[in-house]
Amino acid sequence: MEPGIGAGLNTAVERYYDITLDLYEDLWGEHVHHGFWDPGEVPGVNGPDRHAATDRLVRELVEFARLPAKSRVWDVGCGIGGPALHLAGAMGCAVEGVTLSAKQAARANEKARAAGVADRARFHQLDALATGFPDASFDAVWALESLMHLPDRPAFFAEAMRLLRPGGTLAVATWSVRDGELDEAEQDLVRQILQHQVMPDFSSLEEHERQARAAGFTDVATVDWSRAVANSWDPSFAQIRRFEQGRTQMRALARERGVDVLGFFHAGPLMKRGFDTGVITYGALRATRPEPGDAAAAALIRPVADLLRGIVGEDDAWLDSVVPGTRVDGDLLVESHELAAWSAALRETYGDGVDLLGHVCALGVDQLIALTVADVAAYVAARRGSGGPDGR
């Protein structure tokens, strides 16, 4: 089977999850996705069991994306509803899940009824790019290991933007590849994984980040979780061997369900090799649909960044690359002595009420990491002309 595109691929994905539903549920429980471990933890030795690890991945994504409780959530690629039931249950969210597999949707609805959250978690067999939901329907878009199946990822980000209300949150976790060129052997490994898993291609985490920004998202951030999830493919955890009970049974399974069911069994060793060699990566992305912007702050972004440009000795190309969502810490790599000089230059230009260093010193770790050039511009816009002796 060749990786397909468009409707052909959707049909293949639908079919793949229809025929492997029980296999995945047997193997991984209600979560059809990776688990999450601390460095050094080994499944079955000193790490949590499979269900605790897959539960943890869901909690990690909730935390990384800062997904608010009681959100209206669009769950893209909901599987059999494992993550959605957590969101609808413990977090009180209202979830609309979509999957290409009718069997998965039916199984997810069944599980929602059994969990008593059928009123807050509904599942539909729908194409993610043609759901018919109205604009701004959701507080959050949740895509846990589904973007790999979507051939047109820029279209997904555009659709997520359309369906989110301003200020809404996008939360993605996805398989990915190392950024940059792959050599021939690496490309071959990726090709095999794509075929067996019914995926069109992989993007790198960096590409996902660029696509999200290009769609107009702000506060875009990614985190590489490759090492935290790689245990999912350790033979001791994946336990795929348990199913390989001999050629006769495999042949029977293939006869009964079609030969593409066997892709399920090939995935383990290939994925393990992918993670071991760093070719396959895994990460999460969060992003925000921007609120209608504050014009005064927006107008300050470039002059504020230009003051920093002078301090760090960069050129105009650097200045052009600075966008509102550019992070001061992680993107511009501003060091403490540069921050102090930037703060002094801002005070000189915009008045004594502007004390960026003091402002930044009061921030917590996560706020420092998330601080963007737009945030600095908004701070300067709010403080400009205040507190200074000449009241500029």
Binding site: D38, P39, D224, R227, E335, V365, L368, I369
Partner: protein, 388 residues
Amino acid sequence: MGRYLFVSLPLTGHVHPMAAVSRELADRGHEVMWAGSESFLRPVLGPGTAIAPIPLRAHRGQADRGMAAAKSRWEGYIVPHAKVTLPGIERAVAAFRPDVLAVDQHAVAGAIAAHRAGLPWASLAPTTMELTRPYRALPEVEAWLHRQMAAAWTAAGMPGEPPHDLRFSPHLLIAFTGTALNGPLDWPGNAVLVGPALAPRPPDPAFPWDWLDPGRRHVLVTVGTLAMDLAQDFHTRVVQALRPIGGSVQAIVVAPDGTVPDAPEGDVLVRPRAPVLDLMPRLDAVVSHGGLNTVCEALAHGVPLVVAPIKGDQPINAARVAAVGAGRRVRFAGVRPKALREELLAVLDDPSYRAAAHRVRDSFAAAGGAAAAALHLEQLLGRRGTPS
């Protein structure tokens, strides 16, 4: 004679100076054991050193920089590492019955184990990350750091809050830098700066020594073992910076095979590893990311530096090198080839940089290195630990 248990992290830059101290103690007749990953430690420590093995995966480094790197270092590495290694360390304490623990500042589990056993212990600082407390101006960040340590303490089943900062033993702090570079420290009072603890490393018989042209000046370019994903673009700019001065400067670039394209053969030698200590006496400058080991190895030989810091304590080290006049600092991510060449030529041509590097070298030599560290550790024998 005493019994010393060493606890570190599977990080090259952390283990090398501590290994030199452990060897010194063994040479003086003490019994030494390490608790940690045997597959990582064995090649560094050699066949003769006892290891209480704790299976661990090697740390591959993270692409994060800045504050995000600090966050992932603590939340994704130091705290989980403490949780995973503590049982193995405590088994080693029970079996080996050490008199003193020598604990990497980032191996928080070692501090907790020493507390629980009531043993005296020393904090060892193979980086300047904690030494200069760079976050003290950021109260929220400092508070978050203390919450991380408190979480490790509580997860270990210890009562209440840690009695003090677990990165700083109340008994002794040994830092592998010197006052001429980093000091004097205003805190803590029990800190001794012993300078770099260098131990001879296995020779590299394959290194093409006759490639070095005695008529030219020599530069070593090395950005450490954890930053290879970030290094490629930097190395490309390094090669562009060197190209016009190839007639007078030869460079050895430490990088994996095939990752530095278009390096002119006679002027730039790319090697996956280099005999750094053997090379030092023949070098005129080092271009480095500013890891404390590389910086101190260069300065211990009186070689000035161009430092392009990436993360962690590297910006701190870069600032100190610039402040004492032993080198220049450039931006790792953004420095253009032309600017990099000008900075390098300044360090090569202006004798003041070499003179400053020589001053630091002399102060390092006076500080005593591994032997001085061993002397201080011997003074802990017979002391009581802090009851917990």
